[in-house]
């Protein structure tokens, strides 16, 4: 208690910085004056009286020291002093400090940004939901077909049979057509169980959420919860939105509440706008089987672990429950077990892929940061060697090794923390920039990464770790300084540091690999844009429609497509129109279907698969893909023709060995089809892909509720078709929205979007690494040169020209650099031949990059070497 009070006093004294010395000085004076008077009374002479008084008082300075130590916290005060000192030192070397801080900031900023992504996926998988990492996916798993989802009745059974999980929640993703007749728009929502919002622990931003009893019996409560964004954009955030009606799939639903701002649903990274009770499925989708049929597995389940329960317990309970269901309902549940998975391991999202990619990226970036630390250590060593004298003076005046270490440490820590702060600011900027970047596509996707306390702590921790790493060498070096040596001379010949040279070589090698990779990547990206897709995307407008809310049968789907095409083809500006189920170069890829074909017997295990697309007649005309043999598909309303298929050249080459294809039969799960034509190969999934076998089926034979309209314009301005196409569709079905309208060129850009991210990253990383390598070389060479001032002085004094000195220094250092560069070059070559270009060596890249790198390296050697060669030999020698 007493010592606590004493400590508090000390802290207050340190913080207020009150001058203690004034009071003490007065007290001392008074003390000595009183003693002197006493001595005078005892008969001393005035001078002697005062002298004796002072003798008796004792050493004033030593006492003052004790007094000060008692008064404040010596350790803290020293530290504060050190930081002040460090600040002044850094201000004296603005250029060097800027280089260090900026390179650290880049390293820490990139690492922090990546960390914020990892953190989002691992720790906060559900934005807006607290403690979301406690939620687990509850996935039925089929022996043959992966994760099929759960049926509604299965969900209701499981709710009571997995006691380790609190509140099992079910949801299903559904497309909604929202709005009044003729002005509908397409959004995505979730049909959810009654406990959905309460189990997630959400609080409505407005109104209330769905109650459990509202999701008990089918079709009773026509209520809907809207997202915060939807509330803001469609209702302008007005409170009276609650209670209003919205028309969803032709039914009126009452808005009862608004979800919290950050909440975007439970199927990340998809962003949903509406949540309605699952029991509305029959009313909204016309699908009664969703709620009654055990073989319709439409729902995904999640649940939170009860406190104290483990995932293993939940897994065991879930397996038991699924086994029981399989016994009770063999026709729907036989062979279906179950798995409990964390969110980042979801079988349905990109999380798993992202996490492994991010982990690799993070390790590479941490290595890069380590290289930055190495550079900084070298730079600080180079500077430290010029400060030996200063440190020697400090030691001579009584500073212990710890004081020296703390001095060096505080300087480096200040640099590191400045770098970390700047890095954190960069990370904030980076995550915000990435967050607003819209990821367009058929589905709305949103990644909510942000920099929070944990991310900031990560940045600061990285900064502190960096500071420690690059202080270690100079601190140890200076603390072990031999006093006499340091005072006497400022430069004696140092032991050559092998470690520094190796570091330099490794950095150059690393830079070489990344630069070559970056260059190759950019080359492929650039050539991708120029590659001929072997169809003609210019002048084609794409748009989608979806009849799935109507529960149509095949005949009505076929009829709808036929009528739609008739109307579109009658538009004056439309040269050709067609409908397909898939569009080449789609972000989500094109499905490949298993098949067997007459005349080809597969010898190895597995099934033959080919890219498959279902198209209406006229498709090849719109796409400008020539048919080499045979004819286009039969007309949509032709009932006589047998099921048809058209294959591409590669299909004929690979499976029919070039034999005549026309008339052969293809067998798939959907039935048997006769080949009636052969189309030219084109690009299906990615630019630069090897030729792929493909089969086109006819929309007439396999009609679908969903279609991608392709229209080729006559005038060349395809966007002008948008409003006409909308009018046509509205005419056919006023409740059906046309969505995802884009030109084919925009569609291709979207595909390239994902490839552009790594391309951009390499564009940033390449020069960054080059710069870092240059700084590293500069640091090593200037350190070496600084330690050899005398030697260089002697050489110059004996008549060496400065040119020769420069040349010698460059030659000495270029050795390690060349080694590193050569190893990096060979590594890059091997990787390139085996993985990227498959045997083709891109000569300009493999000669250009080393030339640039070695040029920069030579320059980085030349600058300090030239500075060293310019010293006046007399000054260098007298310096000793």
């Amino acid at each position: 208690m007493r010592s606590l009070r004493r400590f508090l006093h000390r802290v207050v004294n340190v913080m207020t910085g009150r001058a203690p010395d004034e009071r003490l000085r007065e007290e001392i004076e008074e003390h000595i004056a009183l003693q002197t008077e006493e001595n005078l009374r005892a008969g001393w002479s005035p001078v002697e009286a005062r002298r004796q008084a002072m003798l008796k008082f004792g050493g004033v300075e030593a006492m003052k020291q004790d007094y000060r130590a008692e008064r404040g916290l010596l350790f803290i005060e020293n530290l504060l002093g050190d930081f002040g000192n460090a600040g002044r030192t850094i201000r004296r070397m603005p250029g060097l400090a800027a280089v260090i801080i900026v390179s650290l900031a880049i390293g820490i900023g990139v690492n922090t940004t990546i960390f914020s992504w990892i953190q989002m996926i691992l720790l906060e998988p559900l934005p807006g939901v607290r403690g979301a990492s406690n939620f687990l996916l509850v996935e039925p798993r089929s022996e043959t077909s992966g994760y099929p989802g759960a049926s509604w009745l299965e969900y209701r059974a499981l709710r009571t049979q997995v006691p380790a999980l609190r509140d099992l929640v079910a949801s299903q993703m559904v497309p909604f057509n929202v709005g009044e007749t003729g002005q509908t728009e397409r959004t995505h929502g979730q049909l959810v169980s009654g406990n959905y919002f309460s189990a997630l622990g959400l609080k409505p931003a407005m109104g209330r959420f769905i109650r459990p009893e509202e999701a008990e019996r089918p079709g009773t409560e026509p209520v809907v919860v809207i997202s915060y964004d939807y509330w803001q954009t469609r209702f302008r955030g007005a409170p009276r939105a609650v209670g209003q009606k919205v028309r969803v799939n032709g039914r009126d639903l009452i808005v009862i509440g608004v979800a919290p701002r950050e909440f975007q649903g439970t199927m990340l990274p998809l962003k949903f706008e509406l949540w309605a009770p699952a029991t509305l499925a029959p009313a909204l989708l016309g699908r009664t089987r969703d709620l009654e049929d055990r073989s319709v597995r439409a729902f995904s389940l999640i649940g939170m672990l009860k406190p104290g329960a483990t995932r293993q317990e939940a897994q065991a309970e879930f397996s038991t429950a699924m086994a029981q269901l399989a016994r009770d309902y063999p026709e729907a549940s036989a062979g279906i077990g179950g798995e409990i998975l964390p969110f980042w391991d979801t079988p349905r999202g990109p999380q798993r892929m992202l996490i492994s990619g991010l982990a690799v990226l993070q390790s590479v970036m941490l290595l890069l940061l380590l290289a930055v630390c190495g550079n900084t250590a070298n730079l600080m060593l180079a500077r430290g060697s010029t400060r030996q004298r200063e440190m020697a003076v400090r030691v001579a005046l009584g500073a212990g090794p710890w004081r020296i270490v703390s001095l060096v440490l505080s300087e480096n820590m200040l640099l590191a923390l400045l770098g970390a702060s700047l890095g954190a600011a960069m990370a904030v900027w980076g995550t915000t920039a990435l967050r607003v970047a819209p990821i367009i596509g058929a589905f709305p996707i949103l990644f909510q990464t942000r920099v929070d306390e944990l991310t900031l702590a990560f940045a600061i921790l990285l900064g502190a770790a960096c500071g420690l790493i690059f202080s270690a060498a100079p601190a140890v070096h200076l603390a072990r300084l031999d006093l006499g040596d340091g005072l006497r001379s400022s430069s004696n010949t140092p032991p050559r540091s092998r470690a520094r040279r190796v570091l330099m070589g490794v950095e150059v090698g690393l830079a070489m690999v990344v630069l070559i990779a970056a260059a190759l990547f950019l080359e492929s990206f650039r050539s991708a844009r120029q590659t001929d897709p072997r169809f003609q995307p210019e002048g084609v407008l794409l748009a989608a429609y979806d009849l799935s809310g109507r529960n149509p049968d095949q005949a009505s789907e076929r009829e709808f497509a036929a009528r739609l095409l008739e109307r579109l083809r009658s538009l004056p500006d439309v040269q050709a129109a067609a409908i397909a189920t898939n569009v080449p170069l789609d972000l989500h890829g094109i499905p490949a279907r298993p098949f067997t074909v007459e005349g080809h017997v597969r010898t190895e295990a597995g099934q033959d698969r080919a890219i498959s697309n279902t198209v209406t007649p006229g498709y090849f005309k719109v796409m400008a893909i020539p048919l080499f043999e045979g004819n286009d598909f039969a007309e949509m309303r032709d009932r006589a023709a047998p099921p048809q298929a058209i294959v591409n050249e590669e299909f004929v080459r690979r499976y029919l060995k070039g034999a005549d294809a026309i008339g052969r039969r293809i067998q798939t799960r959907a039935g048997s089809f006769a080949i009636i034509g052969v189309a030219r190969d084109s690009v299906y999934e990615a630019f630069g892909e090897p030729a792929q076998p493909a089969v086109y089926f006819s929309y007439r034979d396999l009609p679908w509720s969903h279609g991608e309209i392709h229209m080729r314009t006559r005038s060349g301005n395809e966007t002008a078709l948008t409003s006409e196409a909308r009018a046509v569709l509205r005419d056919l079905d006023p409740m059906l929205p046309l969505y995802d309208v884009r030109t084919f060129s925009q569609h291709i850009d979207r595909n390239l979007f994902l490839r552009r991210i790594p391309a951009r990253m390499f564009v940033v990383l390449g020069p960054l690494l080059l710069g870092l390598a240059a700084i590293g070389i500069y640091a090593v060479v200037s350190y070496a040169v600084a330690r050899r001032t005398r030697e260089i002085g002697v050489r110059l004094a004996f008549g060496a020209t400065s040119g020769r000195v420069v040349l010698q220094i460059i030659r000495e250092n270029l050795g390690a650099i060349t080694w590193g560069a050569a190893i990096g070059w060979i590594l890059a070559l091997v990787i390139s031949i085996h993985a990227i270009t498959k045997g083709v060596v891109n000569l300009p890249v493999f000669t250009g990059v080393p030339a640039i790198l070695l040029g920069v390296a030579t320059l980085a050697c030349w600058i300090p070497a030239r500075r060293a060669s310019r010293i006046d030999p007399m000054a260098a020698l007298r310096h000793e």
């Binding site: 004493r6 007290e27 003390h31 008064r71």
Partner: protein, 115 residues
């Protein structure tokens, strides 16, 4: 920086408290004089060491100080015992007496008394 004599500091603090208890508010010199008179040579040299001890006691709350006028009408800092200090003095006096008694008995003990 190592404290030279923790024992000296401890006893010095106790002496300061006792002095203030007996004499009432005193300035530094007065305290030093009193301790010198009673303890002989403990403070004969290095009277200055008193001041860090005074500061420590003040920061602990055992004593308080304020400016006042000395005998010859000069500004001097006067220290007085606080209630807390009085309690501390009592406690430490008892401790000290107990320790002293034990030590005394220990030194008095003769071999035959122990057998």
């Amino acid at each position: 920086m190592k404290q030279k004599t923790d024992v000296l500091q401890g006893t010095l603090a106790l002496m300061v408290l006792k002095t203030l208890d007996v004499l009432g508010p005193q300035h530094g010199y007065g305290i030093a004089r009193r301790i010198e008179q009673i303890s002989g040579d403990l403070l004969a040299v290095n009277q200055g060491t008193l001041y860090p001890v005074l500061l420590k006691l003040e920061q602990e709350g055992a004593i308080a100080s304020e400016w006042g006028a000395s005998e010859n009408n000069r500004r001097a800092r006067f220290y007085r015992l606080t209630r807390e200090g009085r309690k501390q003095l009592q406690a430490e006096t008892q401790d000290w007496e107990r320790t002293a008694a034990i030590i005394a008995r220990f030194f008095d003990a003769k071999a035959e008394n122990l057998s």
